[in-house]
Subunit: 327 residues, 2 copies
């Protein structure tokens, strides 16, 4: 192994977001990439009852592949996974659909392992405005109540797909730091899903976390270089503080194109668009390539301790406090 | 205090079944009766989604009255409640409606605190035959799967309202002891809800538990004497073994008559019957009278250690093993 590979193997590597059609092969891919924990999307548009079925599927997955994976309800579970040579899964929802209009379901789903929830997914939700809406409602009346309840029970708010006003409102009203688990700065690539310096500065100042996305649409396509990517990491570290950045690859593996349509459209629109999965950069074809990020960050001149932070320690610290119930 | 009252105050008293319209006054009534733990019905006919709302109501109740009550996920939580001077609530369903047709929901609801589930409530269910059906299907195909899954995750099967064949099938197929949380022997009072010697003997031999009911219809009305009741306890101890019997009062407090109709009819029939709550015996008007049972059992000549067993220790032992997940 190279020095960088040896260094990488010792890290707690955490991916801030993946949504894949999980199989043993994909768990082995994560292991090959030296990944200790993944925040995995369990829900896009599903309601409470459908979410129960999805969580039951996860229970079964944890049993059937117990030698490779385990659930994580806390940061301690991630540390245990690293010791055990397994991969910890923190489950999340990319939308607030599981809680329907019922404040009491926040605690219910937190207990079932849903540790992270986006307040909105692209569209207006009962909680706030999505990043694709023409008008951003900001955090709504119900949104404030839900955020307070999430703060109480230790469910992390994720604003990745929210509008700017809603994101800034959430940072202001949340008693705990929030995250943007998978997005990049707009200065790196202008995209409706990427974030302004205003948002990133407020996120860093409030103790929040940004996970850098590798999704081709968020980096400017498969042709974008790894050197460009690490330069963006360095500039963002200067802007937000190196303690507030991590990786959130937005990896989507093993799905047919129809699932991309489901993610985007759910059942809320009948679109004629037939979206296709994009091509990924050669230096990150899958989570098996996580070591390339570590090597490139070292090469960029980051201190090894800062590389360890970016590759997982920052997420670990964030989960350490964020996943505990309020006292 | 009398000697019996002092003795009672030192016991871990467990009520094997109550279903009340919970309020602070009713929690204080339990405290006045020296009750340490109650298996409380959370569900009669509700489906998965409705059950989530009921469990969320319980979460709120536990917060608002945290000085008096606490949830119990294990027998250890009951011991903790005794130490803290609080009352532990073990939640249960009187029917299998929460899991719908989904085996995965057993583990989901167990994790949410539903620790006991009846396989049937009076009627045929997907799992087995109810005690009011003309034909008892016995344990069904799905019933065997669910029972196996309950055994695995540590959810206790309760056969109180099941038909005789279904009850005997469950005793045979369950890898863990089951319970009949609230019923009496038919030799004491002939009633469709009470149980034959065949069932009681099989229940005792398999390590199961019977909770003696104080519900007027199960004892032969409000006029039945406490002496008759303790004589029945003594005869059942001889039949089943004193380690396999406890109390399951079937207390129902604070509800209008319409709720009795809901319990019996749900939405499965439109009945013209307007059932009314029955009058309770003078020696057990409410759980505040639990001490009367202890005193009468002592007077009957039971050893104090056996009285301690009947009043709670047997349930505690049963919960100790029954609520643990299989290894």
């Amino acid at each position: 192994m190279t020095d960088a590979a040896t260094f990488h193997a010792g890290l707690i590597v955490i991916d801030g977001l993946e949504y894949s059609n999980w199989s043993r092969a994909l768990f082995e891919e994560l292991r090959a990439g030296g990944v200790s924990a993944v925040h995995a999307t369990a829900v896009y548009w599903e309601d409470a009852r459908q979410t129960l079925a999805l969580l039951a599927d996860w229970n079964r997955r944890f049993r059937e592949h117990g030698d490779l994976i385990r659930p994580a309800f806390s940061a301690e579970d991630i540390r245990a996974a690293k010791r055990e040579g397994r991969i910890a899964f923190i489950l999340g929802a990319q939308n607030c659909s599981p809680i329907e209009q019922d404040l009491g379901l926040v605690e219910i789903f937190r207990r079932l392992g849903l540790a992270v929830m986006q307040l909105t997914y692209n569209n207006q939700s009962p909680l706030g405005g999505g990043c694709y809406e023409a008008v951003d409602s900001g955090l709504t009346r119900f949104g404030r109540e839900v955020l307070r309840e999430m703060n109480r029970v230790g469910m992390i708010a994720d604003l990745s797909h929210s509008g700017e006003k809603t994101t800034l409102d959430a940072i202001e009203h949340s008693s705990r730091p929030i995250c943007i688990s998978h997005a990049n700065p707009n200065f790196f690539h202008e995209n409706i899903r990427n974030k302004s310096e205003t948002v990133l500065r407020a996120l860093g100042q409030s103790g929040g976390m940004l996970g850098f996305s590798l999704y081709p649409l968020h980096i400017g396509g498969a042709g974008r270089s790894l050197e460009d990517f690490t330069a963006m990491v360095a500039r963002t570290a200067d802007l937000m503080g190196v303690e507030h950045i991590g990786i959130g690859t937005d990896t989507v593996r093993g799905w047919p194109d129809s699932v991309l349509e489901w993610m985007r459209s759910g059942r809320w629109t009948w679109s004629d668009a037939k979206p296709q999965w994009p091509e990924w950069p050669g230096w990150f074809k899958s989570p098996a390539d996580f070591g390339n990020l570590t090597a490139a960050l070292l090469q960029r001149g980051f201190q090894p301790s800062d590389v360890a932070r970016i590759m997982g320690d920052n997420w670990l610290n964030f989960f350490d406090s964020g996943l505990k119930a309020a006292t």
